[in-house]
């Protein structure tokens, strides 16, 4: 008992059994920053883009533009422990401190670049930093505040901004089948305007053939990654959440060369399937509990998951917002913009039929119910963020329905994606043993109710 409660510090064995196939994928995004920087030193433009669920990524890549993702860069800032001076700079420029950690990092980065270093990259920026943007590609998808903070960057840069549109998916109304074509029509119009703007801005034509090719690659990548997710349902869980977080950029925003990425994901799928065959776990300790992580991870404290792994806590799935669903069949459409529109729109609409069947109002709840069933979860690790409305506001409801419908308890741990100053690992560890008893209890309850885990 006491061993599980206080993991021996002397234990040298890596607690998490990392996938070999994860490393090349992690390198892709890091290489991307280096290449982009090099390109900009050769006078090539750099685009700052927000996570846009592919409708923006692919046109930009088809035109051979170099893209960086400040949201992703913020996670690197946090992971390398370099975030604070950037957060403080944002606060000093008058932005409220309860704002998104990604936003505060990027605003702070831009402030320091333009106001403190005369347009040069701050010396303490990891991976060489992000070059000045030639275009700010904003988006309000899954979070309204996002386009607002890209809009605010106009304080520092004279780069033009474009805000991508996406119908709100998280509603019954939005999911009405009769609305699909009208939503797609809207997206197609937007995409055509966007692409013609790109052509005007960068004085080059869109390579439509290339775009088609990339859309096909995107579909293949997403097929592979959703197969990986499927394979992860095995017991013991073959792939730990931290491996997913390190390897997601090439599928989340298609970082790097998509052909290379596809190959890497195919390797990853093979390795995961191999593990499933051999009943090899994602942690180097017996899998005592299967946990789901919701929603965005504490990028500054990922090591913290080793401690939990040592206690036999296997994080078998995580962050639904970072996972692409199985891609739709696009073969019957000819217009690349329409293909793209349907690929992006697919991100969350596919949840609804089930949600309706179950009488659930909130698609995020439904998504997590599906995940919990599929992965036979013992518990949820809820990580509400002090600085993020979008990823936090539904967690209470998720907690409620997981408990209500599946008797799966939640461990509630407040924190932040970037600002480690509000996260207290000691606290969590002090509660871990009690939560194990809670998970034990509800295992019994589920069995008594005829659930099979």
């Amino acid at each position: 008992m006491s061993e599980t409660a206080t993991p021996a510090k002397t234990d040298q064995k890596r607690a998490i059994n990392r996938l070999k196939s994860m490393y090349p994928l992690r390198n892709i995004v890091q290489q991307d920053y280096i290449d982009t920087l090099k390109a900009s030193s050769e006078g090539k433009p750099t685009v700052w883009s927000m996570l846009n669920y592919w409708e923006g990524d692919l046109p930009l890549k088809a035109m051979g533009l170099n893209i960086v993702y400040p949201e992703n860069y913020a996670t690197l800032l946090a992971a390398s422990g370099a975030a604070e001076p950037f957060l403080d700079a944002s606060d000093s420029d008058g932005f409220p401190t309860h704002m998104c950690g990604y936003g505060r990092s990027t605003i702070g980065y831009s402030y320091r670049m333009m106001k403190e270093h005369g347009g040069k990259i701050p010396p303490d920026a990891p991976l060489g930093g992000m070059a000045k943007p030639a275009l700010l590609l904003g988006s309000g998808i899954i979070c309204d505040a996002r386009f607002k903070w890209f809009q605010s960057l106009a304080r520092y840069f004279d780069a033009p901004e474009w805000c991508l549109e996406m119908p709100m998916m998280a509603t019954y109304e939005g999911s009405e089948p009769e609305l699909e074509d009208y939503q797609v029509k809207f997206l197609v119009k937007e995409l055509k305007d966007f692409i013609s703007f790109l052509e005007k801005l960068f004085k080059q034509k869109m390579d439509w053939a290339k775009l088609e090719e990339l859309i096909d690659l995107a579909v293949k990548i997403h097929e592979t990654t959703s197969n990986i997710s499927e394979a992860r349902k095995a017991i013991p869980g073959p792939m730990h959440a931290t491996d997913f977080w390190s390897s997601m950029p090439p599928s989340l925003f298609f970082a790097g060369d998509m052909k290379v990425a596809l190959k890497c994901y195919q390797d990853m799928l093979a390795e995961v399937q191999e593990r499933v065959k051999n009943k090899e776990s994602g942690i180097n300790y017996p899998e005592r509990y299967r946990l789901i992580f919701a929603e965005l991870p504490p990028w500054h404290s990922l090591k913290f998951f080793d401690k939990l792994a040592e206690m036999g806590w296997n994080f078998v799935f995580e962050s639904f917002g970072y996972h692409n669903p199985k891609p739709p069949d696009l073969s019957k459409y000819s217009d690349p913009c329409e293909k793209l529109a349907r690929l992006s729109r697919n991100f969350m609409f596919n949840v609804f039929p089930e949600a309706k069947a179950e009488g659930i109002q909130n698609p995020i709840v439904e998504t997590y119910l599906k995940i919990a069933r599929g992965f036979k979860a013992d518990g949820f690790f809820m990580h509400p963020l002090i600085s993020c409305r979008a990823a936090s506001c539904s967690l209470r409801t998720v907690q409620h329905w997981e408990q209500e419908k599946l008797d799966i308890p939640s461990l509630w741990v407040e924190g932040d994606i970037i600002d480690k100053r509000v996260f207290n690992p000691q606290e969590v560890l002090a509660r871990a043993e009690a939560f194990e008893q809670t998970m034990d209890h509800y295992r019994k309850v589920r069995k008594s109710k005829g659930l099979d885990w």
Partner: protein
Amino acid sequence: MSACYLGIDIGAAASKAVVIDSQKRIIGGGVIPSGTNYVTTAAAVKAEALEQAGLQPADITFSAATGIGGRNAGADSYHGVIICDARGVNLTFPGARTIIDIGGQGSQVITMDENGRVINFNVSEICATGSARLLHVVARILQISIDEIGPLSLRATKPSSFSTSCTVFLETEVITRISQGDSPEDILAGIHRSIADKISGMSRGVTLEKDFATIGGGALDIGLVQAIDEKLGVKSLVPGNPRLMAALGAAVIASEH
């Protein structure tokens, strides 16, 4: 001689120790301020408990520690406060199924089964006011002693209302009330209510079943206990020394080794 077990709880404010015999009877206990050096504090509180029990350190068969500084207590094992609370209360009130622990740092609501194993729990959030330390702050502002708070608050005629949930805001609000001429009685009763509100808010996702036990430093404040009972519509049990429960629970866990 028969086996003896030691439980130590090094909290943020106070440190407690309990010695039980093989029949799980309390034969010694102690409470001292935590101070800054947990190693020496642990030794001191342990000595106090042993002395009361008339035992030597060597007589202890197994020891367990809990609390924020428990890892420094040099015990044989360490356990989180929540499960220790559960075991301690389970021994004291076998009928209890819900625990409300109002500590100096934060509060927790715990539900457990008949064996004192945790069923579910919730701890106060970053910004919540459900902790007893607010009362210390208020006592300081009102220039009264902690022990006066409870009795005083029971004399309230129209409890002040507080609408904010942040400890600091609430502090400022207390001062505003004072300058508006609210009586200390009413202010304290108002604070008790706002803490009780927070506690009931914390019961989210946890199905509360009786009997209820209120423990922790806050349970020494009858006014607060009453406010919580009213809010939850229950009559909660309060142990003779509510602060000892976690240490007692640790001792019980130790006795199972």
